[in-house]
């Protein structure tokens, strides 16, 4: 047996996707999670697979790669597993519609969409009639709208467990309830991680611990500036169909420059298969404070009603929040850590991790096997100033895409 042994730290969707990709490529894969699979960030989001919210650049390329891969992955799953398991992914390529409700919003949205088109994104401006027939309950007060047919949605925990189950079928192993406490190095190389149940040795360790990956890296001896950022989502009672696409507000344009720790909300409205409507989104930097704040829920509700005023009489029956892995420069961190041979990272996707998971896993496999990567992976490299543990920045990076609205993606 000379298969390369890989330990993946974190059984969220990134870890699950990496485990699957690597197990199928013949690696000997063990997934460790301090709790259960998909327990944290993955099951507390909306399940976005978006190209619409990304301006031209490396993240959009990763999103486009991922969007191409998702149907392939699901097709492969269909061949190997039960229809129920594939069904549980709740894959819905419903498309997204970004709506501007102010003149300023329209002025920012249309050129942004044009730039996306130049980068190969299908982004179709909609006239008011088309918008009315696509979303009959949408507010009349709108100034522009762009349709993104390639936006899709999944039930994130279902997607993650389907990927993970496929990895297990391909020979990967899963150990839950195993928290990584520290690392063991030989020479300068990471050769094992310590858990309460003993050491786990491997040739390669992939840190896919999401918002906790900064802490995992610290325990392994290398600082990594990944921070938690909290997002909340409201869930309505089941309704007759009212929202047909992933609809969100472009009015976020230009609002990104404010302090990163402040509450930011922008409307993201979509229905689920069960008939509930999910309302996001919020972003707050509050560490790991898991309190759900009524004022945040109120702000989300107010924004959502601006898009869909007729939802005013609809009950919110649930709210949930989760932590997203935030990187000051808003780019995922994917690749080997040059400071500690043996350690890799696959993290920092903030609210986009569900969608980007399969592309990320593909890059990890290609980089590990020395294959030419499908897209340029160098922008995601670990040794960039925003990641290596510089002082915490106070403002959002100015190069954020104009409407990074659904950063709190996910969650049914």
């Amino acid at each position: 047996m000379d298969r390369t042994r890989v330990v993946i730290i974190g059984a969220g969707i990134i870890g699950a996707a990496c485990a699957r990709e690597l197990a199928l490529a013949g690696f000997d894969v063990l997934v460790l999670d301090r709790a259960g699979a998909a327990a944290a960030t993955t099951s507390h989001g909306e399940g976005n697979i978006l190209v619409s919210d990304k301006g031209p650049g490396p993240e959009l390329e990763l999103a486009q790669l991922s969007r191409r891969l998702w149907p392939e992955v699901l097709a492969a799953l269909t061949e190997r597993t039960s229809p129920e398991e594939v069904d549980a992914v709740e894959w819905d390529p419903k498309g997204g519609i970004v709506v501007a409700t102010t003149a300023g919003g329209a002025e920012a949205l249309l050129p942004f969409a044009a730039a996306q088109r130049a980068a190969g994104v299908r982004a179709e401006a909609m006239d008011s009639d088309a918008l009315t027939s696509a979303e009959p309950f949408l507010t009349e007060r709108r100034t522009a709208a762009v349709h993104y047919p390639d936006d899709a949605q999944v039930q994130p925990a279902g997607a993650a467990t389907a990927l993970l189950a496929d990895a297990l079928r391909a020979g990967a192993r899963l150990r839950t309830g195993r928290e990584v406490l520290g690392g063991v190095t030989r020479g300068s190389r990471l050769t094992a991680v310590r858990t309460a149940d003993g050491q786990v040795e491997a040739d390669v360790f992939v840190n896919a611990a999401g918002p906790w990956s900064g802490e995992v890296a610290r325990r392994l001896g290398v600082p990594l500036d990944i921070r938690p950022r909290r997002g909340e989502v409201l869930v309505t009672t089941p309704l007759p169909p009212t929202v047909f696409h992933k609809v969100y507000d472009a009015d976020y344009v230009g609002a990104v420059g404010s302090g990163a720790g402040d509450l930011q909300t922008s409307a993201v409205v979509e229905s689920t298969r069960a008939g509930t409507v999910l309302l996001g989104s919020s972003r707050r930097r509050v560490g790991f404070d898991d309190r759900t704040r009524p004022e945040v829920l109120s702000a989300i509700a107010a924004k959502a009603l601006k898009l869909f005023p007729s939802l005013a009489g609809v009950h919110v029956m649930r709210a949930y929040g989760g932590f997203r892995p935030y990187v000051p420069d808003h780019l995922p961190v994917i690749g080997a850590d040059p400071r500690l041979p043996g350690l890799w990272h696959a993290t920092g996707h903030e609210g986009a991790g569900i969608g980007l998971s399969v592309g990320t896993a593909r890059l990890v496999r290609e980089l590990l096997t020395g294959t030419a990567p499908a897209i340029d992976a160098s922008p995601f490299r670990v040794d960039r100033p925003a990641v290596l543990g510089g002082p915490p920045t106070v403002t959002e990076a100015p190069n954020s895409p104009p409407h990074t609205a659904p950063t709190t993606e996910e969650g049914p």
């Binding site: 059984a11 709790a35 259960g36 699979a37 998909a38 327990a39 099951s43 507390h44 549980a88 039930q155 925990a157 279902g158 993650a160 467990t161 993970l164 189950a165 297990l168 899963l174 839950t176 409201l234 309505t236 009672t237 089941p238 069960a274 509930t276 309302l279 309190r291 759900t292 704040r293 009524p294 829920l297 109120s298 509700a301 107010a302 959502a304 009603l305 939802l311 005013a312 009489g313 609809v314 009950h315 919110v316 029956m317 649930r318 709210a319 949930y320 049914p412």
Partner: protein, 502 residues
């Protein structure tokens, strides 16, 4: 101490007693309940529109309840918020900052308010626990509490050929209410066997007497059932309900001590309604939202089931969170007298009342007797661990989303779905409109969850709130009744014994 603002949530026996005692200690009280009138489920009141000339005819201990209710609601330092619900509790940045902010939807139409109390008393009670069985989702199958509420609360009887089934002493007053309202009760079917019932009820019967007053509430129920020749069948359970669009017949079967079904003992009975209760589920979303520690149920062979958790309190009814007190069934199902005693202690202490007050001794004794009584009842009526034996693969577990037993089992066996939240998303059990209030403890038990307690009760939105209500900023609370002169603390007026004489 005077002038403390005590918010009491729930105006049943515990909450009303808490408000009464807090007022006696000199506090300003805001008493919140979702109903139009105080009383809770225990003193379920007829609607005012019925203009009943003798409401006490349907109530145990009505006179003392009515007296207290008038005293509290008419008190100048009490604000009575009827038809109001706490939809969220917001913990402060530091526990030293006091109890959580109380987010309320008040009145009709509902207005949103936020209260910032000095102390918070949670007395929100419990609702029936019903274990699923094939056909339990047919119309005509009611919780025992529903039958009781309809009969006592609006004089509607659920049927004319009724079986009351499940376990616990609460089945008796339910059957009695149905009889009183003119229904024919075919039988009370109690899953606990005669030996267990005798062990729990009859050993040291004087404890029962001290709990229930001279007449003995329970004994009066059994006497009434006897007069109507209603059989009390012990060691049997309803294992199926059948019918076309509504219940038409039920299958009962003999069950062993662990509630496994004795093959061949099935018996079919034609009914037009079935009322079921297998004990109670405390309403824990507010204590969980407040961050209160929970504890497993004391005693009883069902202990260890994730369904059996309660709020942990000390002798002063303090929870683990500063400024937050709990009373009544959320601390353990011990009956109305104990709930009243707990409420009185909680209200008095929450208001800053003197811990040396002599009445506290009496109240504490009464509470302890109630708890001892509850422990005995738990012993007499444990939920047998083998009850899932009467489920079938297609039996609905989650009524809202119609998740089947097979689906729950499948996810429980899946190594990628060990996490309750992940399993919930996969099976949808608990994601429907009731938000796992009905199926949550059952699912946790079927999954043999080690997640003790809070999981099935985690509901940051404790009451559905309309988006329009949520989007508006809260309004300042209507002016509280302000005391013209500093109140003079008196004493917690309540002796629970007084309450139970009727």
């Amino acid at each position: 101490m005077t002038g403390r603002h005590v918010v009491v949530v729930g105006a049943g026996p515990a909450g009303l007693a808490a408000a009464d005692a807090a007022l006696a200690a000199g506090a300003e009280v805001t008493l919140i309940d979702s109903a139009e009138r105080p009383g809770g489920q225990y003193h379920r009141m007829l609607p005012e529109a019925y203009e009943a000339t003798d409401p006490g005819a349907l109530q145990h201990g009505y006179r003392s309840f009515d007296r207290r209710s008038r005293r509290v609601l008419g008190h100048p330092r009490c604000s009575w918020w009827a038809e109001s619900s706490v939809w969220a509790l917001e913990r402060r940045d530091s526990a030293d900052d006091g109890p959580p902010l109380v987010h309320v939807l008040r009145g009709t139409p509902r207005r949103r308010h936020v209260l910032e109390p000095d102390a918070l008393v949670l007395a929100v009670g419990a609702h029936d626990r019903v274990l699923p069985f094939p056909g339990w989702d047919l119309p005509g199958v009611y919780t025992a509490g529903a039958a009781q509420a309809l009969a006592k609360g609006e004089r509607v009887v659920v049927g004319d050929r009724v079986v009351v089934a499940g376990t616990g002493p609460f089945l008796l007053p339910v059957a009695t209410s149905l009889l009183e309202a003119g229904s024919r009760v075919l039988a009370v079917v109690e899953a606990a066997g005669p030996a267990a019932v005798a062990r729990g009820w009859l050993r040291r019967p004087w404890e029962l007497t001290s709990q229930l007053g001279k007449s003995g509430e329970l004994l009066s129920y059994t006497a009434r059932l006897g007069r109507h020749r209603v059989p009390y069948r012990m060691g049997r359970a309803v294992v199926e309900a059948r019918g076309d669009g509504r219940v038409e017949e039920i299958v009962t079967a003999r069950v062993r001590a662990d509630w496994s079904v004795v093959p061949g003992s099935e018996h079919v009975t034609a009914v037009d309604a079935l009322c079921v209760g297998h004990g109670f589920t405390p309403q824990l979303e507010l204590p969980v939202a407040a961050g209160c520690d929970l504890r497993p149920a004391a005693g009883g062979s069902a202990a260890g089931s994730p369904a059996d958790v309660f709020v942990s309190v000390d002798d002063d009814q303090r929870t683990s969170r500063p400024g937050v007190y709990a009373a009544g069934e959320i601390t353990g199902v011990a009956g109305a007298p104990a709930a009243r005693a707990e409420g009185a202690v909680a209200g008095w202490i929450a208001a800053g009342g003197d811990r040396g007050a002599r009445a506290l001794v009496t109240l504490g004794r009464s509470r302890d007797q109630g708890r001892a009584f509850a422990a005995r009842l738990a012993l007499a009526h444990p939920v047998g661990r083998a009850w899932p034996g009467w489920l079938r693969p297609d039996t609905v577990i989650c009524r809202c989303e119609e998740t089947t037993y097979a689906a729950v089992c499948r996810s429980a066996a899946d190594p990628t779905r060990t996490e309750p939240q992940v399993a919930k998303l996969a099976t949808r059990a608990g994601l429907g409109p009731c938000q796992a209030r009905v199926c949550g403890p059952t699912v946790a038990e079927l999954r043999r969850s080690t997640d003790q307690g809070a999981g099935p009760h985690h509901r940051p939105v404790a009451e559905p709130i309309r988006l329009g209500e949520l989007a508006r900023p809260p309004e300042p609370p209507p002016g509280r009744a302000t005391p013209a002169t500093p109140a003079t603390p008196s004493t917690p007026t309540d002796s629970p014994a007084e309450e139970s004489t009727s």
